[in-house]
């Protein structure tokens, strides 16, 4: 091999994103890995590290470290199941990059697969029936907090109250991201959407409508990292910087308990990269709900001081805007595959493979990940190598 000091993302594989029940996570992961290996023009024999990620929860078919054998890998030097909720994908990239830099592995596959859609029940119903009857979550569920939407609705109401954001700001995020998704063949919702269409969407939990919520899919994405310059896709994407922030908030008077404390992840990633916010050509943020994109644009200081709603309504996150954001439609109109959604889109854009949604000249991308109730923030700066 020909080693480099740099760790690059050299392979990307994505299954079709299905909105109907079908294959198990292991089958989806196997397919994504095959596609990523082909994309990097290598075989399993070239891989000495495997990181797997999956939805949390009690799932007998959840993807785990047994995938090394299930997926046909040979002996490995690095094998872990990474779990930090929605920050998992970037945590996997960090883990892989550190292992490669330390000489503990050379070429690492990171794969996430999920199959929340099961026969006989909608995703919303599945989420509503999960959570159990113990502890704080049990008390909340006994108070009607079913699924994840009402919690994010409370968070949205509180943040909008504090920040002055308005419902039309939510509409602007949703319609802008849908406009991006129209040109993304991998997106599950590609019909153009007007503000009136948005207002016709049924309320789930005020202020969130159905169209404010992510679209769960059954699918998988795999990526490959390596410092071997002899392998990989011709468009090489360097891991320039990573950062994490895990604000520990409490549910008590005197401070906000639903948000705040995430900016350091982006600050650290940029510092690590030796870059500033003005170097970013695009941002791919984790957006399980429309309000989260608004919050994160402000929390991560990506609007140049403008209110996020003003920034979005001015078209700054759309095509030709100052910071094209969630350019594949995000998790709202693209697909909800947790942290892999923003990472995959950043890779497509930096490879200049975005087709009609391509951001011209995109060379530096910020990728974000959040987990829990905005308890975990992860940031990744990628750059297309010259």
């Amino acid at each position: 091999m020909t080693a480099s000091d740099r760790v690059d993302l050299v392979g990307l594989g994505m299954t079709a994103m299905s909105t109907t029940p079908g294959a198990a996570p292991q089958e989806l992961a196997r397919e994504a890995v095959d596609l990523a290996l082909a994309d990097a023009a290598i075989t399993r024999a070239d891989v000495d590290g495997l990181l797997v990620g999956s939805s949390q929860g009690i799932r007998p078919d959840r993807l785990g470290v047994a995938f090394a054998a299930q997926g046909g890998f040979g002996d490995l030097r690095l094998l872990e199941h990474v779990e930090i909720k929605g920050a998992t994908t970037i945590a996997m990239i960090q883990r892989a990059a550190l292992a490669i830099a330390a000489g503990e592995a050379r070429t690492v596959v990171c794969v996430f697969a999920d199959a929340p859609l099961v026969a006989g029940r909608g995703a919303g119903s599945t989420y509503a029936h999960s959570g159990g009857q113990s502890g704080t979550r049990g008390l909340e569920r006994a108070s009607g907090v079913l699924g994840s939407v009402p919690t994010y609705a409370l968070l949205a109401q509180r943040w909008m109250h504090v920040s002055g954001a308005r419902p039309e700001d939510l509409a602007a995020i949703v319609t802008t991201q849908r406009a991006w998704a129209v040109d993304n063949p991998a997106a599950v919702a590609r019909t153009p959407l007007s503000a009136d269409d948005y207002l016709a969407s049924p309320l789930i939990s005020t202020p969130l409508r159905r169209l404010d919520c992510a679209r769960p899919v059954n699918g998988s994405v795999a990526v490959i990292l390596s410092n071997d310059v002899a392998i990989g896709h011709p468009a090489r994407l360097a891991v320039r910087g990573t950062g994490r922030s895990h604000p520990v908030r409490h549910r008590r008077a005197g401070a906000e308990s639903w948000f705040g404390g995430g900016r350091r992840a982006v600050d650290d990633a940029l510092e690590h990269a030796g870059m500033s916010r003005s170097d970013l050509d695009l941002a791919e943020l984790y957006d399980p709900f429309s309000v989260v994109t608004l919050m994160l644009l402000e929390e991560y200081d990506l609007t140049g001081g403008a209110k996020a709603g003003t920034f979005v309504r001015a078209g700054e996150t759309g095509p030709r805007g100052r910071l094209p954001t969630n350019t594949g439609g995000g998790q709202l109109s693209g697909f909800y595959l947790q942290g892999m959604t923003p990472l995959a889109e950043a890779m497509v854009q930096l490879r200049a493979e975005g087709g009609d949604r391509q951001v011209p000249g995109a060379s530096v991308a910020l990728v974000g990940g959040i987990g829990g109730r905005l308890d975990h923030h992860a940031a990744l700066v990628l750059e297309r190598a010259a």
Binding site: Y127, S130, L146, V149, L154
Partner: protein, 174 residues
């Protein structure tokens, strides 16, 4: 986001009968041995009981084991005044069949209690709308499958009702 799925549906099948205005009995917490049992024991007596640091009296999260203020690990569950103000509020329109009995959207409130704790709850009775952020509420209890659950009763804004002036120091109405 937390998108965890579980297969814990064993008690969520069966009938929709219940004493609560909102939810099926199958959603009643299992309180025996639960980390929140002191809260439920207090609620059974009609009292709102919440955790504090035994050393420095900081109000703690419901499952907190070590005080972030002083490092103490002795938790004291104490009765608090059943009053608070609305910190955030939503009307839940999605009503999951088999779990939600109500036939109309229902409120979910994040209430900041006079004690300093924040607690998510619904209302004691059906309401047509959610109170606004900053509105005062009284805490009472719903009966869900034999378990009493803290719930909010919005203040009737009649001049004879006195509201806690101490609460207005933590958050002014919107």
């Amino acid at each position: 986001m937390s998108a965890g799925l579980s297969t814990e549906t064993s008690r969520e099948t069966g009938t929709m009968t219940g004493s609560d205005w909102l939810l099926a009995d199958s959603l009643a917490p299992i309180i025996e041995g639960d980390v929140l049992q002191p809260l439920y024991d207090g609620a059974a007596l009609g009292q709102l009981v919440l955790p504090f640091c035994a050393s420095c009296s900081l109000p703690l999260d419901l499952e907190q084991q070590v005080c972030d203020g002083c490092g103490g690990s002795d938790i004291a569950w104490r009765r608090v005044e059943p009053v608070g103000i609305v910190h955030a509020a939503t009307m839940m329109h999605r009503r999951e069949p088999g779990l939600v009995l109500a036939s109309a959207p229902y409120p979910i409130l994040d209430v900041e209690l006079g004690s300093g704790h924040r607690l998510v709850m619904t209302t004691a009775d059906a309401e047509l709308s959610a109170p606004a952020i900053g509105d005062p509420v009284h805490i009472t209890f719903r009966d869900l499958g034999g378990v009493r659950i803290p719930s909010a009763r919005p203040h009737n804004p009649e001049p004879t009702v006195t509201t806690s002036t101490a609460l207005s120091q933590t958050e002014a109405p919107a």
